[in-house]
Point group: C3
Chain length 370, copies 3
């Protein structure tokens, strides 16, 4: 497709502030065959530059068209190199929209594979796609156009909203409710028993987990991630929240809409996250933690207690990032600080001796005067 055709197909009203005049450079309307990362782009591809880090790539990239930030210097450099371009305050967002013009993810056609085992009490919406060897148990409800790749297992009493997609190896446990337009990736387990054991004299007594997991609309759960159900009540993940691979969400957690949990994050039982919270990879959240809205945690942070809205937290136990960055910079200098301290102790001892000498020198004189 021509670059100009692509631009017509994107909804550009909102986010584009400036636009390269194609008429002035008719040679700059390349035929685009695909997409590429800016640093490994081939001729005939569309790429994008988001921030400063990759800006210098405009000098060398072989991409034929680039989505740029609103930056006159970059625009000039692109024009000089005969690269077609368009500017946006959010280049990556525009690129995300452009990707869909070139690439549609693989999705099986509607239909139920003959090897799928579907309980007679299950209710299937129109145009569902159910792959080979799926197992759908009693009282399950699937909305319109729900798609199960092969080998998905759904336990009884589960409901799944319209257009939600489940990848091979996903397992959805009893009573789970999943909204519309969700994606459950391969190996993810939703609604399994929370980790509830009560100590007794001889061993641990199991607390049965009678609650359920609820995923609102547009939630994504990464590969091999786990979202547990609680003993009583709900574990809930708000609309539009996205969980990366190998994330663990414990029983009774309450995650508000539009949160991002990067890979290998763990949230212990009863932790709460406000809207738009972003947790970096391998972050741990202690049980009953209350994370305010729009909190961000750096990778490997350890959160506990109450975290004020908008905080940016780092470290374990986590601190506001400025505190953490100052402290961690000094951490490596601890040996030096220690050394300074010891030197000062020695100097101090010397000073004390000198002063005693001075005092002694002053004292006899005083004595002599008596």
């Amino acid at each position: 497709m021509k670059f100009s055709e692509l631009l017509q197909q994107l909804e550009l009203e909102v986010e584009i502030q400036e636009q390269h005049s194609l008429l002035e450079h008719p040679s700059c309307d390349p035929e685009l065959l695909g997409l590429s990362a800016i640093e490994e782009a081939a001729s005939g591809t569309l790429s994008y530059i988001e921030g400063g880090r990759f800006a210098s790539q405009i000098q060398t990239t072989a991409a034929s068209a680039v989505i740029l930030p609103v930056d006159a210097k970059l625009q000039n450099q692109a024009s000089q190199r005969q690269i077609a371009w368009i500017s946006s305050p959010t280049p990556k967002l525009l690129f995300a929209k452009a990707v869909r013009q070139f690439y549609q993810p693989f999705q099986p056609a509607p239909g139920v594979h003959p090897t799928a085992i579907i309980h007679p009490t299950a209710t299937l919406g129109s145009d569902v796609s159910i792959g080979a060897y799926c197992v759908i148990q009693a009282n399950v409800t699937l909305g319109e156009r729900v798609c199960l790749h092969p080998q998905v297992v759904i336990y009884p009493d589960v409901s799944i909203g319209e257009r939600t997609l489940l990848h091979s190896g996903a397992v959805i446990h009893e009573r789970t409710q999943i909204g519309a337009d969700c994606v459950i990736h391969s190996g993810a387990v939703i609604g399994a028993e929370g980790f509830g054991f009560v100590p007794a004299a001889e061993s641990w007594v199991k607390l049965e987990q009678s609650g359920r997991a609820v995923l609102e609309d547009r939630v994504e759960v990464g590969c091999n991630a786990t979202v547990d159900r609680p003993a009583v009540g709900e574990t809930r993940i708000g609309a539009g929240s996205k969980l990366d691979n190998l994330v663990h969400v414990g029983h009774n957690c309450q995650i508000s809409p539009n949160c991002i949990l990067a890979a290998q994050v763990g949230m212990a039982g009863g932790a709460k996250a406000g809207g738009w919270v972003i947790l970096g990879g391998q972050t741990g959240v202690a049980n009953q933690t209350e994370i305010g809205e729009r909190v961000q945690a750096g990778a490997k942070a350890g959160l506990h207690g109450k975290i004020a809205p908008g905080s940016i937290m780092m470290g374990n136990p986590a601190s506001p990032y400025r505190t953490f960055l100052k402290a961690s910079a000094l951490y490596n200098r601890l040996p030096e600080l220690h050394q300074s301290l010891r030197q000062m102790q020695q100097q101090m001892a010397e000073l004390q001796q000198q002063i005693q000498a001075l005092e002694a020198a002053a004292q006899p004189e005083t004595n002599h005067e008596i």
Copy 2:
């Protein structure tokens, strides 16, 4: 069921010290329809209060009956609000027993699904339940009432004890021995090859893993957790130990009975844990670590070497928790300490000058005296 009926069905001899007199408040024998968390309880439900944190909820909860700790104030508050109650030194434990009167987890009926593929050399105990698309390979032995949900795969030469439950997506590798009354959750992989590679000049040489994994009775393994087998010998998890989701137990680990490994804990090859060890979420245990009995590690701890029995450890590398708490409190004050140190260095320099001045002042006098 009436509250009074519930109390009759629980075995209350041991753990209950005090009991609300139902005869005095006949209106306080509510019909109970279900269970709830204290802070979100609806009328007609039973809840519990364990510790101080949730104690204030007794003033507002809509629960009709509550299991309380032995606490006269809470008992009075409950009575005044016409909430039926019973006291126990271990309210959560009693609640765990009460839950079973209201809720039975979903379990398929005995029987072998026609799509299950079972090797002719496998031995099945009476009343086993084998779900759709399970694959059971050569020389596997399943005890009485073992239950496999759909899509469980068992490699050859595995034995599984009575009443053990395997959820969909679990994979049990060759030679694994699993005891009675265990639960293997969805996606857990038991007895796969340990991570054994030996460096050679050109690449890594695989050390074949000829050993086996052994799970004793009443072990639980969480969703997508992994327990590896070793090159030689055994990886062993003691009776009554519970592993949460996404836990990794490396080859040759020896975990004693009644240990708790919270989510995303990792134990490297050959690590040992004594009885009743509790490891917080995301804790890492270095290879060959020896963890004494009843050690507790806080979330994200990094354990190595020998840990004395009964220690409570935090941080990475882990320290006794008192040390860690004091040190981590000062960590954030490092910039302040650094500032103090620099101020003192300046003050010290000033003092040195003052003393030199005093000495110089004293010296001339001495000289003058000569």
Copy 3:
């Protein structure tokens, strides 16, 4: 097999410097029945001693034959105890070769199970083994002697090289390329969508992941590990690299040959690792990190930025290990340092007073002299 027969079957030219003379001790050619770890060896087994840690076991082990390092003391001790032995500069490597003489891992015979569902456009090499309930989708190519254990799912357009082994529960997503002689363990997910979401005003917009994951020859991916594909371009894992259980490799990561990623390591999007990098368990690598060749990171390290080749890194944020070890040793002494600092502040104040007193004492005299 006799010890002497075993030695004949191993290729000993290269790595063995010294060899026990079997002729001198004909009684020292035991019949070997199996393998064992040195500390739990039974009579009739072969074991090995690698380093100093287990050296004392030579005094007590019941092993009948031992592979020793080149160490005259150990050799003498073994001879005195009538233990057959051979010395190698790399005992564990020789043991790895010996293991294969006693133990062959379970592998299904070639053949396609009648329940396997194979798309007509798939191409199967000779002697492939495809287990029960496997699903192989359109345009998949399997090389000669590829082995799929039961319940493996392969999405369309995947190619898998000769002799590669996939364990039950593995899921390979669209367009993935896997080389020869790889092992994909149970529950591993290769080539699923990278975690790509772009913030917009109302929620997160999905960046479709049109790229692919590429595993070169001899790569191993552990149980429940995940390797994502990128939006554009490739995620690549170099030949001979080994990933342990529950490892996460994000979109666009580039891992060079012969790297080792221990359990629960996470590499965020676009991170690069040079050849022979070794990352300890639970290490996290920030996005776009560039790790030089032969870098080693201790367990739980947090890597970011550029890491110079050959560095040994520890801590989070990671530092060269000498720096980290010194700093972490002082970390626990922070309360003591703080205490010293406060003492010195007090001493300093006292000195200041003393000096003022001395100055005052000197001053009046001077004044008196005026």
